[in-house]
């Protein structure tokens, strides 16, 4: 997707990756409004660039991560995730959706971000490793622990 940047390109990227990036930012910051602010900062910076990055998706997730980490350093109150809704709950599955959000809150941050990138960012573990700038084995290990923990907490939903 490298090429001359247009406003429509940025809007397309926002439509395509906005929800996953919002989920990622919310799970990092524990605050949806703060995550939206971070998201807007990232895309407004993109608008000021002459060209899109060669690989926009990892770039966007990395940019959201860096800005979220900066925001967390500046505000210690963030990151509880309590009462924050970030999943769409289909009709008849509202309780199940809330349960997933609750279980996600129980995970350590480093496991939670791997789950969000893998499930809602639709990335391979290798791509997650690139975004987080850590070895793929570490990603796999965190993901394994996260799934086991989630399975235990979700009780009967997946049976």
């Amino acid at each position: 997707m490298a090429g001359k940047l247009t406003y429509e390109d940025v809007q397309d990227l926002y439509r395509e990756h906005g929800p996953a990036l919002l989920a990622y930012g919310t799970n990092m910051l524990g605050d949806r409004a703060a995550a939206e602010d971070v998201l807007h900062q990232v895309f407004l910076k993109l608008l000021a660039m002459d060209r899109l990055p060669a690989e926009p998706r990892p770039y966007l997730f990395r940019a959201v991560r860096n800005r979220a980490l900066n925001a967390m350093r500046g505000n210690a109150r963030l990151s509880s995730l309590e009462g924050q809704e970030w999943l769409v709950k289909p009709e008849g599955m509202v309780e199940a959706g809330l349960e997933i959000e609750r279980v996600m809150r129980e995970l350590p941050t480093e496991q939670r971000e791997v789950v969000v990138l893998r499930i809602w960012g639709e990335m391979t573990l290798a791509e997650v490793a690139v975004v987080l700038e850590i070895p793929e084995n570490t990603v796999a290990s965190r993901y394994r622990y996260a799934l086991n923990r989630m399975r235990a907490l979700l009780k009967d939903e997946t049976k």
Binding site: T6, Y7, V10, Q11, Y14, G18, P19, A20, L21, L22, A23, A35, E36, L39, H40, F43, L44, L47, A48, E85, W86, L87, V88, K89, P90, M93, A96, G97, I100, V115, R118, I119, W120, L125, A140, Y143, R144, L147, M150, R151, L154, E157, T158
Partner: protein, 125 residues
């Protein structure tokens, strides 16, 4: 990492729930071409406004010249009753000063003998 069936089942279950959509992206900076076009349009409007103002100023100044011209036109009768002229006339021909003033007055004063105004009534008295 090899996913077992339980992992895949959990992934499928979690993916049933999509992430919520963020609020719309603010407009932010427009593309360079749009900004240049907007600046050019503003500059054109400013030039147009300056042109219109300059044109109006030119028209007004020509009107002012006409007004000045009409103002400097002398009133013949009024000029004749100026203090300098009357003094000169009195020195040159004092006997006919009264007759001269009588001849000038109908040209300078309103005709109180005709009409129905207050001056008409006062003149009759």
């Amino acid at each position: 990492m090899n996913f077992d069936r339980e992992d895949e089942k959990l992934e499928v279950y979690l993916r049933q729930f999509s992430a919520q959509t963020p609020r719309p992206l603010p407009q932010g900076r427009k593309p360079l071409k749009v900004r240049i076009a907007a600046l050019a349009a503003i500059a054109a409007l400013i030039l147009l406004a300056i042109g219109v103002i300059a044109l109006r100023e030119a028209q007004n100044s020509s009107r002012r010249v006409v007004l000045v011209t009409t103002r400097v036109e002398p009133q013949p009768a009024a000029a004749e009753v100026s203090m300098i002229r009357l003094s000169r006339f009195a020195q040159q021909d004092p006997d006919s000063l009264g007759a001269h003033l009588d001849s000038l007055s109908p040209r300078l004063l309103p005709d109180v003998r005709s009409g129905k105004g207050v001056l008409h009534h006062l003149a009759r008295e």
